[in-house]
């Protein structure tokens, strides 16, 4: 049918029916509706992306705002001189530490007056703010008799509630009077802060120290568990990298096309999706129940995490082996290399940046993994110190960063929550460094064929 066969009589306009707008400039209802739905759909999509980003921002804010206080601690700094006579007098008293405490309070009073403040306080209030000070002072002077007569500065840790007050965890409104801290003590604290006696310093102990007991949140540090994680990562690196690379080379270059190879491949892709807790059960049953390896040891943790990261490393290594063009292999074979030589001398070095990137990402995953560590006993153990040597570092019980964070989160004291957030910051700094390293490696060495 062509235009000419259309008779004018059959055209709707001629029949006198209402004419639809033919103008391209005016939108009809349907188009408007379709455009509106188009716009809506696009907004949904944008909304979804924004929701994701919003969650990320909320998470980051929560971590940073609640974790930063873990890196500071509040100290009471008092400088005073103890003479030989005062020392002798104090040593004669029945309650020796009490006598030292009196010196401390006197010195505190003096320093307060010096800076023009006057707040009445008693020994009990001071004890609530800095704890019992006499013992520390006595020990100091007993250990260094030479310090007698010369001015000595004491940096004493403030109690955890004063610490909370200075970093905003405890406020005047939320504080209830108790034997730990009373509302009136906060006036003293304010005055001491103004006089520069109470101050906030960076908490090195949190980064280098070991875990403390349940009753001492202020002294808890993540250092020992960083070491535990480090030994675990050593095990993971030195087992999963060679095994992963060897397995990938076999599957990518040598494996015949048969059922058994298929089975291995299906196995690997399934292992990558097995819940991590199942690897924990495996570790418990095989390494601890069956082989009687020591519980809570970084060696066992490392073995479990190795099995867990192997699939990740194999998958990424195979991808980077596959990315090396066949011409490289052909050229090597062409000049007389054996197949093994062509792979180990040419293909593997070219694939190495990709393999290392995948390994670092796998290690980062393993570093943050918690669930399997709970089952092999890394949680019940309180890591109180560093391992003595290199070998004992592998077999002596220790904690690991995520397990330490979990331990703190499981304790009822709020002050430990702050430590847990702080621990997360440390953990994320490690993860971020590793990921950035991986990105740099990829950018720097990746070759496009």
């Amino acid at each position: 049918m062509t235009d000419t066969t259309l008779s004018p009589e059959t055209s709707p306009a001629a029949a006198g029916e209402p004419v639809k707008s033919k103008s391209l400039y005016a939108l009809d209802d349907l188009t408007r509706k379709r455009n509106a739905s188009e716009k809506r759909f696009k907004l949904y999509g944008l909304g979804a992306v924004l929701i994701g980003v919003f969650f990320l921002v909320v998470l980051a804010t929560a971590i940073i705002s609640q974790g930063i206080p873990a890196f500071t601690r509040t100290i009471v700094e008092v400088e005073f001189t103890l003479t030989q006579e005062q020392y002798d007098a104090a040593e004669k008293e029945l309650f020796k530490t009490k006598a030292y405490e009196q010196f401390f309070i006197g010195a505190l009073q003096g320093q307060l007056e010096e800076s023009g403040m006057s707040v009445p306080f008693d020994a009990a209030a001071i004890e609530r703010i800095v704890g019992k000070t006499g013992g520390t002072i006595r020990e100091y002077f007993k250990a260094n008799p030479g310090a007698l007569g010369a001015p000595a500065a004491f940096e004493l840790a403030a109690s955890s509630r004063v610490d909370g007050y200075s970093n905003g965890r405890v406020t005047r409104e939320t504080l209830t009077d108790s034997r730990f801290l009373e509302k009136s003590d906060l006036d003293i604290v304010d005055a001491l802060v103004e006089a520069g006696i109470i101050k906030t310093v960076f908490n090195w102990n949190f980064i280098t120290g070991a875990d403390s007991g349940v009753d001492n949140p202020g002294g808890a540090g993540i250092g020992a568990s960083v070491i535990g994680s480090f030994f675990m990562m050593l095990v993971v690196l030195f087992l999963s990298l060679p095994i992963g690379v060897a397995a990938s080379i076999y599957l990518e270059e040598f494996a015949p096309q048969n059922r058994f190879t298929d089975m291995i491949e299906v196995n690997i892709s399934n292992l990558a999706a097995v819940p991590s807790i199942v690897f924990g059960i495996l570790g418990l049953a095989v390494f601890i129940q069956f082989m009687h390896l020591p519980q809570s040891a970084p060696l066992v943790g490392g073995l479990v995490l190795t099995l867990m990261t192997l699939p990740t490393i194999i998958i990424s290594t195979r991808a980077s082996l596959k990315a090396v063009p066949p011409s490289i292999r052909d050229a090597a074979l062409g000049v007389g290399a054996s197949k093994m030589q062509s792979i180990f001398h040419h293909v593997l070095p070219l694939a190495m940046p990709g393999i290392l990137t995948g390994t670092i990402i796998g290690l980062a995953q393993a570093l943050g993994e918690t669930a399997p560590l709970l089952l092999i006993g890394m949680v019940g153990f309180v890591a109180r110190g560093y391992p003595d040597g290199f070998i004992t570092g592998f077999i002596e019980p220790n904690s690991a960063m995520p397990a330490q964070i979990y331990t703190w989160a499981a304790r009822a004291d709020y002050a430990f929550y702050e430590k847990a957030w702080g621990g997360i910051i440390v953990l994320l700094v490690f993860l971020l460094t590793m990921n950035i390293l991986a990105v740099i490696l990829r950018r720097r060495f990746e070759r496009r064929w």
Partner: protein, 490 residues
């Protein structure tokens, strides 16, 4: 000889073998490398390989088999009658091992003499006190059979280790000598070494299979053990979960249904959050976003996937829980009692899964051929109509696969539910109530000093088995769908 030194010595023998083999090959060709079949280093490597590989193989096998032999020998020594009421052979054996370790440590620390540890028959009554004095933890009064068993355990272990060192060293030396004897100018060293390397590569690939085998075996054995102590029907169809740790778990009710309900409920909430958000984000990023927006937004979403789950757990416990509580708790709607609830865990898990769903869907949407889009646009469809009527139907199987993978992730997730979902096992419809999951209960049953002979600890393996089967099933189906779908458009 400690294991460490044994390994070092074997490695040293291999190294010496390498040097000797290389030199001998060169010498046999009169110092002219061109007369050799292979490069000289291959002759060295051949010797080193023959020294180290069989020795290490023997070492590993010995370490695996020795505990069995000792165990069966020792358990014959323990008379039936001495196994007390409510105890088992396993518990007695653990006691024996502990005592033997105590003896060993005490000897090492010099508190008791080796001779005393070997033949303390006459005065074994005070051995408990002497071990305790030596700082060794001994649980109860050591009875005569346990002491005897511990003594022979200790002796067998040390003789076993002694013979192991000898056999391993002999194997290493014999291997090295064999390799050296073979070394002649026309020996095909490269072919031998390469065949050896190929075997090593193959065994590395086998580790993946062994891991699966290990998982399955450790789950199956302990699960069977559990079902011997606790009826399977009650486990699979029981409606209450109340383990009792007293009386060796005799009065526990260990029904899995409340746990499964909690698991699926939380996973459902998580998917209800993650699937719409993830899917829309994927559609937006792949169809609408400019390349600059994409370059920023995609990595940001993927950061969410790289954050360890312990962080999400803490986030649920300390941020989301209290936040929900302030809205739905007693100050607000009054339907939430505590911060830990299905909603808390589900919401946070949903956030965790957003990037998982979005990046998988993104791949799948990008795999839909451009021709299909162009065809749709050519017919005058808008972008959203194209997405809804052409791309999504075409990508549907793949997206279903992605959702199944996300579901399997949600079911197997541990830290978020341990910290965010509460500990009470209940069957309830209220999403603001605390419930618990299979994974959380595995953790709580196995953390601490569980003895592996009681049903309350063994049940964790049955739970693990259930979890493994469910997630494996989901994964297999999902991977099958995804793979099949990918091939369709390749």
């Amino acid at each position: 000889m400690s294991l460490f030194w044994l390994v070092v010595i074997v490695l040293a023998i291999a190294l010496v073998g390498y040097v000797v083999g290389r030199a001998r090959a060169l010498a046999s060709a009169g110092g002219d490398m061109r007369d050799l079949h292979s490069l000289p280093s291959y002759y060295g490597a051949n010797v080193a390989m023959k020294a180290a590989v069989p020795a290490f193989l023997i070492l590993v096998l010995w370490l695996l088999v020795q505990p069995f032999v000792i165990h069966s020998n020792i358990s014959d020594m323990i008379p039936e009658g001495t196994i007390g009421e409510g105890s088992s052979l396993g518990l007695v054996m653990a006691e024996v091992r502990r005592t033997a370790e105590g003896l060993e440590n005490a000897v090492a620390a010099g508190q008791i003499s080796d001779d005393f540890a070997r033949n303390a028959r006459s005065d074994f009554t005070d051995i408990t006190t002497r071990l305790k004095e030596a700082g060794q933890i001994v649980t109860s009064q050591i009875t005569q059979p346990i002491m005897r068993a511990a003594q022979s355990y200790r002796i067998m272990l040390s003789t076993g280790n002694f013979y192991m060192s000898i056999v391993v060293l002999l194997a290493a030396i014999a291997g090295a000598l064999w390799g050296i004897r073979e070394t002649k100018a026309d020996f095909r060293a490269r072919n031998t070494v390469e065949r050896g390397i190929q075997v090593i590569l193959f065994s590395a690939a086998l580790i993946a299979v062994l891991t699966t085998l290990g998982i399955v075996l450790s789950l199956v054995f302990n699960t069977v053990e559990f079902f011997r102590l606790y009826p399977a029907m009650d486990f699979f169809f029981g409606l209450t979960w109340s383990p009792s740790f007293s009386g060796r778990g005799g009065s526990s009710e260990l029904g899995i249904l409340p746990l499964l309900w909690g698991t699926f409920y939380i996973s459902f909430v998580a998917l209800a959050v993650a699937v719409p958000v993830g899917l829309f984000a994927a559609v937006y990023l792949s169809e609408y976003a400019s390349s600059r927006v994409r370059a920023v937004a995609k990595p940001m979403l993927e950061i969410l996937a790289g954050i360890p789950t312990i962080v999400y757990g803490l986030f649920a416990l300390l941020t989301v829980g209290p936040m929900l509580l302030s809205v739905f708790g007693e100050d607000g709607l009054g339907i939430m009692k505590a911060g830990t609830a299905v909603m808390t865990a589900g919401l946070v898990m949903g956030i965790m899964l957003i990037p998982f769903v979005s990046s998988l869907s993104d791949d799948i949407i990008n795999a839909v051929p451009q021709a299909m889009r162009d065809g749709s646009y050519g017919l005058g469809a808008t972008k959203s109509e194209t997405v809804k009527q052409v791309i999504l139907p075409a990508a549907l199987p793949g997206i279903v696969g992605a959702i199944l993978l996300a579901a399997s992730r949600a079911i197997g997730e541990t830290m978020i539910v341990v910290l965010g979902a509460g500990a009470a096992a209940r069957l309830s419809l209220n999403p603001f109530e605390a419930m618990t999951t299979v994974t959380a209960k595995i953790v709580s049953q196995l953390t601490g000093d569980a003895d592996f002979a009681s049903p309350v600890a063994l049940v964790a393996f049955a739970l693990g088995m259930t979890l493994f089967v469910v997630t494996l099933g989901l994964n297999i189906v999902a991977l099958y769908i995804v793979r099949k779908y990918r091939e369709q458009y390749d």
